[in-house]
Symmetry: C2
Subunit: 228 residues, 2 copies
């Protein structure tokens, strides 16, 4: 768990070269985004001046995902990988891994991706795969985080950006921000305010990863304000 992100980064060799500016580093890296839905977090990544140019591939498990349209509009390779067309999760994930490797992907961003990835994919991108989740983990993991925070009667929730490990919504935290739950909130109004924070926090955190500003201290991920 204490292997540093990018410790073995292949095409991110520039990370440790002080002559590279952070922006150049970010553009050097190649990012894939996995999305199942409307892709608003994908759009936030595409719109970020440092991260957007690094996005080289978008993969969705759903052919009708709006995320694929957003990718095509941005001129990014968009692939529908149909789970039903594979005999097993492992077979599907092997093809996914093949796609990522063929596109020389350094960093994988999950953005509303509703499938659980097999250990092989998680291991291959350990320290280089991130997820954004609409709660302050470890509170309210899983697919219904906003609804469950409301049902629990919590007064504060938020969003979390974390490295992906073998357990769902569990890996080392890179960033969190609190969002107050208002007395008249329903799932829709609360989720909308959390998404606003996600769309700011997720690109900023992915940028830190691309710029080599993330290091591990045990389970704790440290994000530096500037490159070491």
């Amino acid at each position: 768990m204490d292997r540093a992100p990018f410790a073995c980064g292949r095409s991110l060799g520039g990370c440790h070269d002080a002559s590279f500016s952070p922006i150049l580093r970010a553009v050097d890296a190649r990012v894939a985004v996995l999305a199942s839905g409307s892709g608003t977090n994908l759009q936030a990544l595409l719109d970020d001046p440092a991260v957007g140019p690094a996005v080289a591939l978008v993969v969705s498990d759903r052919s009708e995902a709006k995320a694929l349209d957003r990718a095509r509009t941005a001129g990014v390779s968009a692939v529908h990988l149909d789970p039903a067309a594979h005999p097993s999760r492992e077979a599907h994930d092997r093809e996914l891994l093949g796609l990522l490797r063929a596109a020389s992907i350094d960093v994988v961003c999950l953005a509303g991706y509703m499938r659980i990835l097999s250990p092989e994919v998680v291991r291959a991108y350990w320290g280089r795969m991130v997820n954004v989740h609409p709660s302050l983990l470890p509170a309210f993991p899983g697919a219904h985080a906003v609804r469950e925070a409301l049902a629990w009667g919590a007064r504060v929730t938020g969003c979390t950006v974390h490295l992906v490990d073998q357990e769902v919504d569990h890996g080392p935290i890179l960033a969190q921000e609190a969002v107050a739950i208002l007395a008249d909130d329903d799932e829709e109004t609360l989720h909308a305010r959390i998404r606003e924070v996600e769309h700011r926090l997720y690109p900023a955190t992915v940028r830190a990863l691309l710029e080599g500003r993330v290091r591990m201290e045990g389970r704790r991920a440290v994000v530096e304000d500037r490159p070491a």
Copy 2:
């Protein structure tokens, strides 16, 4: 779980009489505080102009608890109830319940009380017993909430005031406030900032309970800004 706090309140009959001002209501009620340690949350309750006059009894399981000194200084009855002097937790808690009833206590505030109460005590004061906990529950329950939030690598924690039910650090939430975890925080610095919030949030929430501004909607406790 949806029985309203104070629905059967005995000596809080004035709660539903519109001619009583909130302050008079608060002074009408009788509050006990259970504490094991230095009693800084007890002091915050004593110092609150609405809650302080209502505190009628302080009980500690430790004879050397500074909380007992604070009670005596404030002119409040201070009782050391020695767990070692009782053959069982049930016997100890029956004496505790006897003390609370003899003092006509309406509301019980746990303030750093390190003993788990038996179901009989919890049932007797359901909806009228509150606790303050140094995390955003349901994250980091238990006795080491601050240390565990740091070890987990969380970026946001906070404090929670909740009704006490049969599970530890689990009952309906009355109030929460977030506290950011800073990069150079240790357990002491982080706990100090959480305590600052506790010392403001706990008296304000106890006051809402005394003033009849808490009602249940399923598991969710609603705290009104003003009495219904």
